[in-house]
Symmetry: C2
Subunit: 199 residues, 2 copies
């Protein structure tokens, strides 16, 4: 249960990798031990033993998605220079991440926040916490744009962050819904325009 042996660590990883894919399509509630077991050719009880409960499996899946998102989006974006280049890089990476279908159902957090926004419980709370961190990150990057002189003073940072976030999530959902990826360009265009024309 503690994952000390290499075998267990590996099983846990491939389980969570499959779990995020399932969750982006069918939701964290549509994520099922039986399906997970069938897909991975493992026993239901074997998988269950790794997590202890369905809720803990859902929470572990969120953590795993966080890691992947950090690796694919946050980390590379932070290699761009502070200020506007970094904010734009974050957005580019986010949209690329969704467009490339790193998870088959697109952006994990867009999917899961929509799924759990109206529910109660631990999963909802964790999603709210992540959402707050994400918004604060965007706010910080906006503030850095101003500090670096790349943007004029922003009257209401939270307002701007709300809009940026709205555009990114909409691009994800619309591209999944229509199976066209023109919406990513729409979002990128809107973001650049909203931040002031030049790169």
């Amino acid at each position: 249960m503690d994952g000390r042996h290499a075998r267990g660590v590996h099983t846990r990883r491939i389980t969570l990798a499959r779990a995020v894919d399932i969750a982006t399509v069918d939701g964290l509630e549509g994520l099922t031990l039986g399906r997970l077991a069938a897909d991975l050719q493992l026993s239901k009880s074997g998988i269950f033993a790794h997590f202890g409960s369905k809720e803990d499996l859902q929470l572990a899946t969120i953590s795993f998605a966080e890691e992947v998102f950090t690796e694919h989006v946050l980390r590379p974006a932070f290699q761009a220079p502070r200020g506007k280049p970094r904010l734009l890089a974050l957005f580019d990476r986010w949209m690329d991440f969704s467009r490339a279908r790193v998870f088959v159902g697109g952006c994990f957090f867009s999917a899961v926040t929509a799924e759990f926004d109206a529910r109660d419980g631990k999963v909802h709370d964790v999603v709210v916490r992540w959402s707050r961190v994400w918004n604060e990150l965007l706010a910080r990057l906006v503030a850095e744009c101003v500090e670096e002189g790349h943007m004029a003073e922003v009257a209401d940072v939270d307002q701007l962050v709300f809009e940026l976030n709205a555009l990114g999530r909409a691009a994800n959902h619309d591209s999944l819904l229509t199976r066209e990826d023109s919406h990513y360009d729409r979002a990128l265009t809107a973001v650049r325009s909203r931040l002031g024309a030049p790169g």
Copy 2:
């Protein structure tokens, strides 16, 4: 099965009314015959007989939500004068509809499009169709703003529609997630700013 008797019509209505509420919180997949029956104090098979299959129940729920949305949002918005007043009225009504929790889980279509965007099947197809109609409506209202001289020529109407739609859905999801309704004002502010300052 044909709903000729008044009794059947009533049962069908209260069933669908409960169904939309459940669906906005737990999704159309989380919508369950057993739960519906328990909530309404009816038998599972009795409810089932009205729809014939779970999928048909889901589709009927979508139709019902459409009616309510039309009644609460579209129809009153169309009483505003053609052009910008009408477009703004539509947005105001939409946000009010979500904010007032006419459905306990907010905007039905924001929830369901997010739930089914990555899936296949009839429900997905119906949602895509509705989404297209909704976007075309927004595009038409934008065009009318230009025609009425309330707005300057719009270079890319679809781009603007994408942004408006993004803002509205984000307000719905964020307000549900955080249980604060400041996001509605954010969306309304952004929309007015994007359409050009004066009302």
